[in-house]
Amino acid sequence: MDEAKKIKIGWFSFSCCEDNTIVMTEVMNDHWQEWKKIFDFRHVRVLKSKNIYNEFDIAFIEGAIASDEQETQLKDIRSRSKKLVAVGACAVVGLPAGQRNTFTAEQNQSIQFLIDRFKALPKVLRVKDVVKVDAEIPGCPMSPDNFLKVVNDLVAELQK
């Protein structure tokens, strides 16, 4: 496929364990030849060094949002992306990355100096608390089948 016609992919990880990144690289075992033809992996840090940050057809967002800086970055990614997909439990429901949201007052007191030191948000946010989300793939980690279904549906829509 002509390079310019490929679907531009961004993959971004915020606060999480990056399990969905690993699942994506495992799904790739069976799909890499087809993906190489149709996708331009222009910003996927786990795959490459020379990442291009300009515009995306699909931006996949993994992880919850834990700081102002992450919130600003997520909004910026949204403004550059035709479709934005929240992948995995931390992005979709904010947990377990945001488990401090459920802490007791005593527990919160014990971690407050670290929240302050690293300028973290008072509450960890879900992706949809910050930006409009076009699709969600829940799961801890996401299931490979659900991921493929969302990817294939979006590819069909973008190639119309």
Partner: protein, 432 residues
């Protein structure tokens, strides 16, 4: 080039999000800070009050790629706390869980992260399908990863956040058809792994200096779960004494912790393991390594780039060992050993892909977790990584262009295979 600050905001092709800053004054490297950019998720605070039956799956969420190592280590800690001894079958299934993890995780690191540097490519997917060698490696990479993924899924339910291993045993058991298919897949990727070993044996990158290293070394055959801690100084001590030898170091600039041993940095991971236990590798692995030119004679080594070669060797060992374990055992359904809550302290020490992993759990009489501690491999390699980057940059000054220095730094850090998701999981209240 006299005085400058060099800053790599996002180191690529590693697990997680790390950055690095180097301060050079009057041509001398003054400071190197390697830091995780991951926000703390406070697992060691969140574990308090959880039932020990739920703890391993919870702590797995510290890290996606290392999740199955965290599960097995946490199960070991919980079982030690309440006095459960695993059955022989459970021990074998746990060993196979880690073999599956080692195969898929090392393959991800070697093919997708490190190999592009050797071939002058930006990404593994940029390898040229019309070039016979690159075409072969592309197919090899995804097939080896897939074989490890299949093994991990068959034995433990999933290759990420496994669902079958539990405190007291396993919740599901592999069937004959699955075992036969796993053996077939593992046998079929053996030639690819031999090619992988040759690539990293011949890789032109080297960085050597004196350093200490340590690993959990089994008594009889090379593995990742049992044994004693051995060090490059020739010391040996039990798993329960591991923590006593580590000194916690505060890193105010990072969301992670670092550790020293005997007042100095040290190294953990595949290179440390092969250095200390190469004689225990599977006989078929040793035979193949001999046929490739006595590769084991390169060890013990402190050349950090041989960590890649050691990982490739471990993939072969895990394949050979798994084929043996799957071929020579019958797996039958077994009930879980019942969890009888009692007060206790349990330690788990295993070798995760990136090195020695330590879990401690303190359990109350009600079976709920009072507190715990987790020490991850990347925290143990932290001081060595910073020291090595300082030496590397100093050696490259004053004539090397900044872009080249940055590339060399990333390459060196990649050889350590750091995991930043693991590094940033926990809370250390004694920082302040």
């Amino acid at each position: 080039m006299h005085s400058f600050n060099l800053s790599l905001e996002h180191i690529t092709k590693i697990e997680g999000n790390a950055s690095l800053s180097v301060k050079v004054e009057d041509g001398k490297v003054k400071e190197v800070n390697f830091k995780t950019m991951e926000y703390k998720r406070f697992f060691t605070e969140a574990m308090k009050g959880k039932s020990i039956s739920a703890l391993p799956a919870h702590l797995a969420r510290i890290c996606g790629t290392c999740s199955n190592a965290h599960i097995i280590c946490s199960i070991e800690a919980c079982e030690n706390a309440i006095g459960i001894t695993a059955t022989e079958q459970t021990k074998i299934l746990r060993a196979l869980t880690l073999h599956g993890l080692i195969i898929r995780d090392h393959a991800l690191h070697l093919y997708l992260f490190s190999m592009p540097d050797i071939y002058g490519k930006d990404a593994f997917l940029d390898f040229d399908e019309n070039n016979p060698e690159e075409h072969q490696l592309l197919h090899d990479g995804f097939e080896v990863k897939a074989a490890g993924n299949f093994l991990a899924t068959l034995i433990s339910g999933r290759s990420v956040h496994a669902t079958y291993p539990a405190v007291g045993g396993f919740l599901h058991f592999p069937d004959k058809a699955g075992i036969d298919e796993a053996i077939k897949k593992l046998q079929s990727v053996r030639p690819a792994i031999l090619r992988l070993i040759e690539v990293f044996k011949n890789a032109p990158f080297h960085f050597d200096r004196k350093t200490q290293y340590m690993a959990l070394v089994p008594e009889y055959s090379y593995g990742y779960i049992n044994g004693s801690i051995k060090t490059s100084k020739g010391e040996t001590y039990g798993e329960d004494k591991f923590r006593d030898h580590l000194e916690h170091v505060v890193l105010p600039y990072s969301q992670a912790s670092a550790y020293q041993y005997d007042g100095e940095g040290y190294m953990v991971g595949a290179l440390a393991r092969v250095n200390l236990a190469k004689d225990l590798l599977h006989p078929e692995t040793k035979k193949s390594l001999k046929s490739l030119g006595d590769i084991l004679n390169l060890f013990p080594s402190t050349d950090i780039f041989y960590n890649n070669l050691a990982q490739a060797i471990e993939i072969l060992h895990s394949v050979d060992e798994s084929i043996d374990l799957l071929s020579n055992n019958n797996f039958a359904a077994e009930p879980l050993i019942k969890v009888m809550p009692r007060e206790g302290v349990g330690i788990g020490v295993i070798e995760a892909p990136r090195g020695t992993l330590y879990h401690k759990v303190v359990v109350g009489a009600d079976g709920l977790v009072k507190e715990g501690e987790v020490i991850v491999p990347t925290g143990q390699n932290q001081i060595n990584i910073e020291r090595d980057v300082a030496t590397l940059v100093q050696n490259l000054l004053p004539d090397t262009p900044k872009e080249k220095i940055e590339f060399e730094i990333e390459k060196l850090i990649r050889a350590y295979d750091p995991c930043m998701s693991c590094a940033a999981h926990f809370l250390k209240v004694n920082w302040e």
